[in-house]
C-alpha cells in the first residue's frame, strides 16, 4: 500500500462566520467577518464574498476597523499576530507580532497607535495595551506591552470602551469593572450571586453609551442593567430592563446612542429607546440564536450573527435586507450526507427541522428546506422535532424524510414525509405525511434505484422489527397521488439495521443483525439469506456496473463480499470499516476504516484483489458520513492512483463536523489559475454578471480610445482585436442595446480619414445643440485639442485645410464628452 503524494485531503464548505462579531465599513458597503483562518469581505448588497484576507496561521479572533483610517482593518489571531489590511484591495499592509495568542482586541479613537488585546498570560486572561511601533516595515514586533486589567473574560462581548475611549468597562462572572484612563483608577461593582426570584445574575455582555455615562450589561437570566454614576464607589445606580427570558448574548448601542439593541437565544432583535425603555421594537424569528449584534458606523444597517452560521443584515430595524448563510454544522448530522440528483447539491441536516442544500461547485448554501414546518420554540431543554433520515430517488423527483421527537420515556413521535419536486417553483413540495409509519425508530430508508421504472418504491426499516415498502398509489378520486404502504415483513423478530437496492432495482437486501436477507421487490419473495457470523452487519452496498453481482457488507471486524450468483462468500478481509460508500458512476467503493484513533481510506473494486488507492490517517476520529459527488465534467487523469477521482469526488464528514474532500494536484492548479483570472480591481461585488459587463465596459473604453486615435495615427485595423472578438462572443442578453453599440461598431470598422469624418459629421449634426450648451467648456479645453491636432497634422496629413482642422477639433471634442458620459453612466 503506497501513500499517494499527489492526492490531498482538503477542507471545503467554509468555516464558521458567526465566531466573532462582524464589522460593517463606514460606507456600509462591506461587511467583514472572521472565518476560520481568514477574514472574509462580503458585499452588504449582493451577499457575495468579495475577498478573503488570508495570511493568518491560526484562528482569527477579531476584526476591527482602524480608527485612524477607515479603509484599513486590523485582524487578530490565535497565532499571536495582528495584521493590518486594506480590505478594498485585499492587501496585507502590516504584520505585528505580539507573541501571545490573542483572544479578542479593542481600539478606540482616543488611543492612537494603541491596541488593547486580551491575551492569556500565565494563569488568567489579561487586558494588555500594545503600542504599535511606528515603522515602515512589513513585519514589526511589538515590544511595549502594559497590562491594564487582569482577570478579564476572553469573550469579546465582555469588554467595551465608553465615551470614545475615556473608560473601559469589563465584566466577568458577577463583577463589573470600570477603568478610567485619565484617573488611572478602576471601580468594581459586584452583584449577589443569586437574587430572590432565582435568576442568574452572571454578566454575559457589556455595551457603553457613546455619548452618555451609561453602561448596559446583559445577564444570564435575561435582564439588562443600565448602570449610571459609576464613577463613585458607593453612589452608583442601575435600572433593570427585562424582556428576554434567557441569556442576553449581545448588546449594542446605535452610534448616536438613541437606541439599544439586544438579542439572545429567542432570536428576537429588541430595540429599546434610550431613556424611554418602555418603548421597544421587535424583529422576531430571525433564525438561530443571536450571538452578535453590530451596527454600521452611520447607523443605517444592523447586523446580527446567528448560531446557525448566518449573518443577517437589517435595514434600521424594519427589514431584513440580506442574509449571508454559511454551511450549517449542527452538533450532529443525523441524516447521512446525500447528493440531490437534480441540483448536484450536498444535502444534510441544517437548521433545526430543516435540510440544507449546499452547492459544492459554488461552495455556497443554496437553500434550506423546512421539513418539520412547525414554529421553532427557542428554549433550552425542550424536545424538538429532528430530521433524522432523508433519501432521494434516483431522478431527484422524490424526497423522503423522517422526523422524530423523543418526548418522555416511551413516547416517540415519528413522521415520514414524502416530497415531490415541483418544476414550477423548483423546490420540493410536501406530498404525503405518514404519521407513525413504524412503532419504533426508523433505522434506514432507501428508494428503488432504477431511473427508467415507472413505479417508485421506498423501503423503510425500523427497530420494531418490521420493514415496510411504500408505493405511490394511483390518484384517488379527489386528491393527487399519494404514498401507501404496500408490503410489511419481518424476519424472525430480528431488528433490521439497513437496507439497500441493487443498481437495477431487482433485488432488495435487508440486514437483520447477522443475517442479510435478499428479497425480490416485484413479488416480495425471500430469495436467499446470507450470513457470516460473528458480528452484526452494519453497512451494506451492492456493486455497480460490471461488479453488480457482488454484495458488500461490513461487520465490526470484517469487510465481507458475497457473490450473488453463487450465494457464497467471495472474499473477506479483516478491517473495522465504519462507512462503506459506492460511487454511483463507477465500480469503485470507498471504505473508511477506523484504526487506532484515526481513519484510513481504501478505494477498491469488488472484483479486484488490490485496492486502487489507500490513504492512511485521513483524519483523526471516526468517519461515519461520506458521499460520492458526481463531477460536472470528467477529469482526464491517467495516473492510476487518481483515476478513481475522475468521475466523482469523495466528500466526508469528520468527527469534528468538518467537511473534507480529496483533490489532485492538477485539479488544484486548475482552480488556482481560474481564481487568478477572476481577480478584478474594482470594489464592486464580483458576480458573473459583473464580470461580463465589467469586461464589456473596459472594451468600450478601449474602443473609444482606439476610435479617437484611429484616424489620427493611422494604426492598423482593429478588426481582429481580442476585444472585438469578445464583444461578438458575449451573449446578446447581457449587452447594451444594439442601437447603442452599432455606431461604435461601425466606427471601429472605418478606415480612411474622409470616411471617419463623414461618419462623425452625422453625429455632430445630431448633437449640435448639446455642443452649444457646453460652449464655455469647449473654450477652456480648446488649447489641448489644438495641440493634438497640430501633432496629427504634422505626422501624417499636412494637406488638411483649416476648415477641416476645425471640424476635426469639433469632432474630437464631441467624442470625448460622449466618452465621459459613458464613463459616468
Amino acid at each position: 500500500m503506497v501513500e499517494h503524494g499527489d492526492i490531498r485531503v482538503v477542507h471545503c464548505g467554509g468555516s464558521k462566520i458567526n465566531f466573532r462579531d462582524p464589522v460593517i465599513t463606514h460606507d456600509s458597503r462591506f461587511l467583514l467577518c472572521a472565518s476560520g483562518e481568514a477574514v472574509k469581505v462580503f458585499s452588504t448588497s449582493t451577499e457575495e464574498c468579495i475577498h478573503e484576507l488570508r495570511g493568518h496561521t491560526g484562528l482569527v479572533t477579531g476584526v476591527l476597523l482602524r480608527p485612524s483610517n477607515h479603509l484599513q482593518v486590523y485582524s487578530s489571531s490565535l497565532d499571536g499576530t495582528l495584521r493590518l489590511w486594506d480590505f478594498t484591495d485585499g492587501i496585507l499592509i502590516k504584520t505585528c507580532v505580539i507573541g501571545y495568542p490573542i483572544y479578542s482586541f479593542y481600539a478606540s479613537d482616543k488611543h492612537e497607535n494603541v491596541i488593547f488585546i486580551v491575551a492569556s498570560m500565565p494563569k488568567r486572561f489579561q487586558l494588555v495595551a500594545v503600542h504599535l511601533p511606528q515603522s515602515g516595515d512589513q513585519m514589526v514586533e511589538a515590544q511595549e506591552l502594559s497590562a491594564v486589567l487582569s482577570g478579564v473574560n476572553p469573550n469579546p462581548a465582555a469588554i467595551a470602551f465608553g465615551r470614545g475611549g475615556e473608560f473601559i468597562a469589563s465584566v466577568n462572572d458577577l463583577q463589573l469593572e470600570v477603568y478610567f484612563f485619565k484617573k488611572q483608577k478602576s471601580y468594581r461593582f459586584f452583584l449577589k450571586e443569586d437574587n430572590k426570584k432565582g435568576g442568574w445574575n452572571t454578566f454575559t455582555c457589556v455595551a457603553c453609551h457613546p455619548k452618555d455615562d451609561c453602561i448596559a450589561t446583559g445577564h444570564e437570566d435575561g435582564k439588562i442593567r443600565l448602570w449610571r454614576n459609576f464613577n463613585h464607589k458607593k453612589e452608583y445606580t442601575y435600572s433593570t430592563l427585562h424582556w428576554h427570558h434567557s441569556t442576553v448574548s449581545s448588546l449594542c448601542f446605535t452610534p448616536e446612542g438613541t437606541n439599544l439593541l439586544s438579542g439572545g437565544v429567542e432570536s428576537v432583535l429588541v430595540q429599546w429607546r434610550y431613556n424611554q425603555e418602555s418603548e421597544r421594537d421587535f424583529l422576531p424569528r430571525l433564525g438561530g440564536a443571536i450571538t452578535h449584534i453590530t451596527v454600521s458606523p452611520d447607523g443605517s444597517l444592523f447586523c446580527t450573527s446567528h448560531s446557525d452560521n448566518k449573518i443577517t443584515i437589517i435595514q434600521s430595524c424594519v427589514k431584513v435586507s440580506a442574509v449571508i448563510q454559511g454551511l450549517v454544522k449542527g452538533d450532529s448530522i443525523r441524516t447521512d450526507l446525500m447528493m440531490d440528483p437534480r441540483s448536484k447539491a450536498l444535502v444534510l441536516n441544517g437548521k433545526p427541522g430543516h435540510l440544507q442544500f449546499y452547492s459544492l461547485q459554488r461552495d455556497k448554501l443554496l437553500y434550506n428546506l423546512d421539513i418539520v414546518q412547525q414554529e421553532y420554540i427557542h428554549e433550552s431543554g425542550l424536545q424538538q422535532f429532528e430530521v433524522v433520515k432523508a433519501a432521494f430517488d434516483a431522478s431527484g423527483s422524490w424526497l423522503a424524510t423522517v422526523e422524530e421527537r423523543h418526548q418522555k420515556a416511551a413516547e416517540l413521535e415519528l413522521n415520514l414525509k414524502l416530497w415531490a419536486f415541483d418544476e414550477q417553483t423548483q423546490s420540493f413540495v410536501l406530498n404525503t405525511t405518514i404519521s407513525a409509519p413504524h412503532d419504533a425508530q426508523i433505522t434506514a430508508m432507501c428508494f428503488c434505484q432504477p431511473t427508467d421504472s415507472q413505479t417508485t418504491l421506498l423501503v423503510s426499516t425500523s427497530k420494531d422489527g418490521h420493514f415496510k415498502a411504500w408505493q405511490l398509489a394511483a390518484p384517488a378520486h379527489t386528491e393527487g397521488p399519494s404514498w401507501l404502504c404496500d408490503f410489511v415483513s419481518a424476519y424472525h423478530g430480528l431488528v433490521p439495521e439497513c437496507c439497500s437496492f441493487s443498481a437495477d432495482g431487482s433485488l432488495l437486501a435487508v440486514v437483520f443483525q447477522e443475517v442479510v436477507t435478499v428479497w425480490s421487490p416485484s413479488t416480495w419473495e425471500l430469495l436467499t439469506t446470507l450470513s457470516q457470523p460473528p458480528g452484526a452487519v452494519s453497512d451494506l452496498c451492492f456493486g455497480r456496473l460490471s461488479c453488480s453481482k457482488y454484495l458488500l457488507g461490513t461487520t465490526a471486524s470484517n469487510l465481507l463480499c458475497w457473490n450473488l450468483l453463487t450465494c457464497s462468500l467471495e472474499w473477506t478481509t479483516s478491517m473495522d470499516v465504519r462507512r462503506l460508500v459506492a460511487d454511483p458512476l463507477s465500480e469503485n467503493m470507498a471504505a473508511f476504516c477506523y484504526q487506532s484513533g484515526s481513519t484510513d481510506l481504501f478505494v477498491f473494486k469488488p472484483s479486484e484483489p488490490r485496492p486502487l488507492f489507500s490513504h492512511k490517517a485521513v483524519c483523526s476520529g471516526k468517519v461515519t458520513q461520506a458521499v460520492f459527488a458526481p463531477r460536472e465534467e470528467m477529469l482526464e487523469s491517467c495516473e492510476e492512483s487518481s483515476q478513481w477521482l475522475n468521475r466523482s469526488q469523495l466528500y466526508f464528514l469528520t468527527q469534528q463536523m468538518d467537511l473534507m474532500t480529496f483533490t489532485t494536484k492538477a485539479e488544484e492548479d486548475r482552480l488556482l489559475a481560474s481564481s487568478k483570472q477572476l481577480v478584478i480591481d474594482d470594489s464592486v461585488a464580483m458576480t458573473p454578471f459583473y464580470l461580463l459587463l465589467g469586461k464589456h465596459r473596459q472594451q468600450q473604453q478601449e474602443h473609444q480610445d482606439s476610435d479617437s486615435s484611429l484616424w489620427a495615427e493611422r494604426t492598423a485595423l482593429p478588426q481582429t482585436s481580442a476585444s472585438m472578438k469578445e464583444l461578438l462572443q458575449t451573449p446578446a442578453h447581457v449587452l447594451p442595446s444594439t442601437s447603442y453599440l452599432c455606431s461604435m461598431f461601425v466606427q471601429s470598422l472605418l478606415i480612411s480619414v474622409s470616411d471617419a469624418r463623414s461618419a462623425h459629421a452625422e453625429e455632430e449634426m445630431e448633437s449640435e445643440k448639446e455642443e452649444e450648451d457646453s460652449e464655455e467648456e469647449m473654450e477652456s479645453s480648446r488649447s489641448k485639442p489644438e495641440l493634438a491636432a497640430a501633432a496629427a497634422t504634422e505626422s501624417d496629413t499636412p494637406a488638411l485645410t483649416k476648415a477641416q482642422a476645425r471640424e476635426l477639433r469639433r469632432v474630437r471634442k464631441l467624442d470625448h464628452s460622449w466618452l465621459a458620459g459613458l464613463l459616468d453612466s
Binding site: 430571525l286 425542550l382 439469506t529
Partner: protein, 522 residues
C-alpha cells in the same frame, strides 16, 4: 425573517365509505314515497313506452302507477286469487298476468275486463311474458311446465316439460321471437328455442332460481337464486362468467340500469346492491325497511321502485339537476358580486407601476394567541363550543402544540370549576378515540397531577373524574378482549398458513388498538 408558522392540524383519514362518482349518483334521489298495497308486492314492471307507467302486482290486484302520481291510474282487480307477474307488452298496450288459480289473463291497459283467458296450466302461474313478435305469450307454472300461447285465438302452441320443479321466473328475448329463458326451482336455467321444441342450453345455478335477466345485447344472462347472483355468457354456450355472493339472504330480483353499466340486485336481507358490470364490484348499497321481493328501475334511472314483504311499495324519484343546484346556491351565501369583485378585476396598463402589497396571512385566533405565548387563552379558544364539538381535531392539535412547547401544564393549570369541567368533558368525550388517545392521555395525566389537591371540593368535577375512571376501566377491558381475539386469530392464521422453513412473511400484524395506560388514582 420567517413568518409565524401556524399550528399544524393533523388530517385524519376519513372513516366510513369513500365518496365515489357512483355514490354521488345513487344518492341523488329524493326521499322515498311509500304506498301501502294490499299484500306483498311480488312484481314490478315498467311500461316500455312513455310516460313509463309501471304495473305493481300485489295480492289479488295489479295497480298501474303513473310516473309521478301516488295514486294508481288504473287497477285490475278481477282476479280470483293472488295475481303474479303483471307484464307489459313492448308497445305498452297489453298486460298479461298469471294467477294462483292457474288461469293467465290478458288485459287491455285501457280496459277493465280481461281480453283473453288462457287456461291449461294445472297450478299457479308465476311467469308470464310476451314474445318479441307480440303475438305470443310465454307462461311458466308450478306444474313444472312452461307454455307458449297464441294471443289471437287463445290457444296453446307448445308445452315444455323439461323442468323438474316450479318455474318461477323467465324472460323472453327482445331480439328473437323464438328464444326464451326460464329459471326453475330445480336449480337450472334453460334457454329454449321455439323452433326446435326443446331446450338449447341448460345452466346449473346451484340454487333455486328466483330471477333471470338478459342484457340488452342478449349475450349475457344474469340469474339470481339463493344468495348468489351468477352471470352467464350465452355466446359461449352458457359458460359461467362471474358468481357474486354479496347478499346474506336469498336474492329475489334483478334489474339493469338503463345504460347497462350497473346491475342491481334486491334480496330478502333488505338490501339493494349496485354492481359495476365491468368488474362486478359493489359500488353502492341501498337499505330498506323490510325484505324485498321485487325491484324495478325506470328508464334513465329516473326512479327506483321496490316492493317489500310488508306490502309497502317504495318509490324513489331522481332529483332534478336544477333542484340540486338551487339548494346548493341557497346554502352558500356570498357577498354580492359587485362587492366581491371590486378592484379585483382591474388589469394594470402597460406603464403602470405595480405596488405589491404584502399578502396578509390569516391566522386563526388560537394561533394568534400562541404567537403571543398566551397559552391558557389559546387553550380556551380551542375549547370553544364550536371547535370542541365540530372539530375536535383542532382542539387536540392545540393541546399537542402546547405539549410540544412544554407549556401544556401552564395552560391546564389555574382553571375554575366551570373551565375544568369543560376540559374534562372534552377529554371524556374523545379519550377513547384512537386518533386522539396519545395526546389526551398526556393531558389527562397532567390534569390529575395538577388538580389532585382539590379533589373532593366540587361535586361536578368529582362526578366527572369518576366517569373518567369508569371510562378508562371499560376501555382497558375492551382492549383486553380485543387482544384476546387478536391472539385467537393469530393462532388460526398460524395453523392455516403453509409452513415455510425460511421466512415468515406474514400478513401485517400491526396492533390497530393503541393500548391506553392511564392510572386514575382519584
Amino acid at each position: 425573517m420567517a413568518s409565524f408558522k401556524p399550528t399544524k392540524i393533523q388530517v385524519y383519514p376519513k372513516l366510513g365509505e369513500k365518496v365515489t362518482q357512483d355514490t354521488l349518483y345513487w344518492k341523488n334521489y329524493k326521499a322515498p314515497v311509500q304506498i301501502k298495497e294490499f299484500g306483498a308486492v311480488t312484481s314490478i314492471d315498467f311500461s316500455p313506452v312513455t310516460p313509463h307507467n309501471f304495473a305493481v302486482t300485489a295480492f289479488t290486484r295489479i295497480h298501474i302507477y303513473g310516473p309521478f302520481s301516488q295514486e294508481p291510474v288504473k287497477s285490475f282487480t278481477r282476479f280470483k286469487d293472488t295475481a303474479y307477474c303483471g307484464r307489459f307488452r313492448s308497445d305498452g298496450q297489453l298486460l298479461v298476468a298469471g294467477c294462483e288459480d292457474s288461469v293467465v289473463r290478458l288485459f287491455d291497459v285501457s280496459g277493465k275486463v280481461a281480453l283473453r283467458l288462457f287456461k291449461g296450466h294445472t297450478k299457479a302461474v308465476h311467469l308470464t311474458d310476451f314474445t318479441s313478435d307480440r303475438y305470443q305469450i310465454l307462461t311458466g307454472s308450478d306444474d313444472y311446465t312452461c307454455r307458449l300461447w297464441d294471443i289471437p285465438n287463445a290457444t296453446e302452441l307448445t308445452t315444455y316439460t323439461e323442468h323438474t320443479d316450479y318455474i318461477r321466473c323467465g324472460v323472453t328475448s327482445k331480439l328473437n321471437r323464438d328464444l326464451f329463458i326460464t329459471g326453475s326451482y330445480d336449480h337450472t336455467v334453460k334457454l329454449f328455442d321455439a323452433r326446435v321444441e326443446k331446450s338449447v342450453i341448460t345452466m346449473d345455478h346451484g340454487q333455486p332460481v328466483e330471477s333471470v335477466l338478459l342484457y340488452p345485447s342478449e349475450g349475457l344472462l344474469v340469474s339470481a337464486g339463493g344468495r348468489h347472483v351468477k352471470v352467464w355468457d350465452l355466446l359461449k354456450g352458457g359458460q359461467p362468467l362471474v358468481s357474486l355472493k354479496n347478499h346474506h339472504k336469498t336474492v329475489t330480483s334483478l334489474a339493469l340500469s338503463s345504460n347497462g353499466q350497473r346491475l342491481l340486485s334486491a334480496s330478502l336481507d333488505r338490501h339493494v346492491k349496485v354492481y359495476n358490470t365491468t368488474n362486478y364490484k359493489v359500488v353502492h348499497n341501498f337499505d330498506y325497511a323490510a325484505s324485498i321481493l321485487s325491484l324495478g328501475l325506470a328508464p334513465d334511472d329516473a326512479s327506483i321502485v321496490v316492493g317489500m314483504t310488508n306490502s309497502i311499495l317504495s318509490i324513489k324519484h331522481r332529483k332534478n339537476q336544477e333542484d340540486s343546484k338551487e339548494i346548493a346556491g341557497q346554502q352558500r351565501r356570498r357577498p354580492s358580486y359587485r362587492v366581491f369583485v371590486k378592484g379585483k378585476n382591474y388589469v394594470p396598463k402597460q406603464d403602470d407601476y405595480l405596488v405589491s402589497k404584502p399578502v396578509k396571512e390569516h391566522l386563526a385566533k388560537y394561533d394568534k394567541q400562541l404567537q403571543r405565548f398566551n397559552v391558557s387563552k389559546a387553550l380556551d379558544t380551542a375549547l370553544g363550543t364550536y371547535i370542541r364539538f365540530r372539530k375536535p381535531e383542532i382542539t387536540v392539535a392545540v393541546i399537542k402544540e402546547l405539549d410540544r412547547r412544554g407549556t401544556l401544564k401552564n395552560a391546564l393549570a389555574g382553571r375554575d370549576e366551570r373551565g375544568l369541567s369543560q376540559l374534562l368533558n372534552f377529554i371524556i368525550g374523545n379519550l377513547v378515540d384512537a386518533r386522539f388517545t396519545p395526546v389526551l392521555v398526556t393531558a389527562a395525566e397532567m390534569i390529575l397531577d395538577i388538580y389532585q389537591s382539590v379533589i373532593g371540593q366540587s361535586p361536578v368535577v368529582d362526578r366527572q373524574l369518576l366517569r373518567l375512571q369508569d371510562l378508562v376501566k371499560r376501555e382497558i377491558e375492551f382492549q383486553k378482549d380485543l387482544l384476546e381475539v387478536l391472539g385467537m386469530l393469530d393462532t388460526m392464521f398460524a395453523s392455516s398458513l403453509p409452513r415455510k422453513e425460511s421466512a415468515s412473511a406474514s400478513a401485517p400484524t400491526v396492533d390497530p388498538f393503541p393500548t391506553c395506560s392511564l392510572n386514575t388514582d382519584s
